[in-house]
Symmetry: C3
Subunit: 228 residues, 3 copies
């Protein structure tokens, strides 16, 4: 239970929280019909996406949640969620923005999660696991709270694989002697690029393609995937 | 990881746990048809509602869960759940009782959560956040376990807003020098009154009204909101 | 926050993790149609079932998650999940294997959870609670991630009751002076036997039978229970 010597700079952490908040609010604003959320609901999803990754990371590490030690995290996530709502009103075609932001956000949370786990002395494999949970955990929480099918189980496009690859790069670079900051930046880039390439070229694991198509159709029409 | 100097008195904590247990069991007993729960299911929901708020608070604070340090919490929650089942059998019109108890329970958990967070040295904003999570967390867990739409996202009547207002009162009173006990009592009253007024006068945030109506209809007929 | 003097031997822990991983992957492989999972999804469910119980136990105890302190846990869970996928391809009739493994897994996690809680000084009632959460928590997580009705709320056959009885045996044996190892073995046997007998003779609590039948039909046809 010693305090970590490694500290993610506040500004970097807040960038991740802010981008997560914007992305969450953009995502939540896109729902129509029965699933349409009010302002508070959109803000909650923004906060969940902005803060969820860090909270899950610290829970898994049994560390005091950094995101609750300063006022800035929640203020940033909330303001970012409001910004996301405004953007959703301004732009008509949001999908590219949502996907792009998401790729950066999972890259950031994955890199931060793995780095912190390594700094706390975890072995390579669980450090990668903590990074992946940190990267995809916010989205899992979001889907469970919104009653959606959990995206990571059904959406294709190598979502978790991208996070896993980036976190592995962080852990291996660190194991081979690279400074954590360099390792984290390399991991961030790997995750973001893989995720974007996968979306651009519609690459997915076997069996996922059909589900992915159906999911997209479902989200567009706001009819849930659970139907007879 | 120092032990908190501030300790919520056991009797006050047990009142919150007990009322939560009764309310959870009343809520769960109301389900008919496909969602009807057996005795164990009703007891589980009672325990989740009675203990969930405190567990979530202590997880967020990285504190040893107080509710697991004594036999009394679980015994109280279980007995309260049994009492709730009996009451559900005795009274025909439960709705007023469920809503009234719920208002007091979110007020209690919100006030306790915020107070403990402040006592552990958290800044104002995250202290309010911990209080709100503590107030509404039990209900979120309940809805996710029962496969219901998460109420806080869809039910109107200022549910989370009431919790947030009360927790803010606790944090601000404390910041302006009021003793935590007084601050907590003020917060409890604010949350409970706002919540009850919101229900009485059917006040809600923009966009929520339609969803709220649909949700109530759904609960009455026990047909889930997720349908084509 | 002292480190526990009591340590579950790594090999025993890994057996539980491995069996959980096999069982989770077998379960997840059984889905057809809309819920069919790809390789990654099956592996995730295997990891959730293999590691979930231990993670939930350590979260509730505010202990550093043991499963993340060594590479072996995740490697074992992942390899076990792959093995489970192979087995699912080899055997046509898996149900007996899934149910049998499940009975052993909840017995192991329940016994380990209760033992560790007692070793950390928790009173009897919360120690049993931690054991039960540890036993059934992996399955709850699995169901929530897969968007299934949470089995413990709806499936009959004394699922949670079996876990509770075994954990109570552990706690009471220990209270009456038995060494924790003997107490844990006794609890494991009690849980496994009750669970298997309940399945064999189709015993359930009042009100559960109808739901159980419907659930089984639902799983067979892969049409979710949530339908109009």
């Amino acid at each position: 239970m010693t305090e970590p010597l490694f500290v993610i700079p506040l500004w970097a952490d807040l960038i991740a929280v802010g981008l997560g908040g914007v992305q969450g609010a953009l995502f939540a604003s896109g729902f129509r019909g029965q699933r349409r959320l009010d302002l508070l609901g959109v803000a909650i999803i923004g906060i969940v996406m902005g803060m969820g990754g860090g909270l899950i990371r610290d829970l898994l590490l049994n560390a005091t949640p950094v995101t609750l030690q300063s006022n800035w995290y929640l203020l940033t996530a909330t303001l970012a969620a409001l910004l996301g709502m405004l953007l959703a009103g301004v732009f008509q075609r949001l999908n590219a923005l949502i996907v792009g932001l998401d790729a950066v956000v999972i890259g950031l949370f994955g890199a931060f999660g793995t780095s912190k786990a390594l700094a706390l002395g975890l072995p390579v494999v669980p450090a990668v696991f903590v990074g992946v949970c940190s990267a995809v955990g916010g989205g899992i929480l979001r889907d469970m709270i919104m009653g959606l099918p959990v995206a990571i189980m059904h959406v294709g496009s190598l979502y978790a694989v991208a996070a896993g690859a980036g976190c592995t790069v962080v852990a291996l670079s660190h194991a081979f002697g690279a400074p954590l900051v360099i390792a984290a930046i390399a991991g961030l880039i790997v995750t973001t690029v893989i995720r974007l390439l996968a979306v651009l070229f519609d690459i997915s694991l076997p069996e996922q393609r059909a589900l992915y198509r159906r999911k997209v159709a479902v989200e567009t029409s706001a009819i849930p995937i659970i139907k007879p």
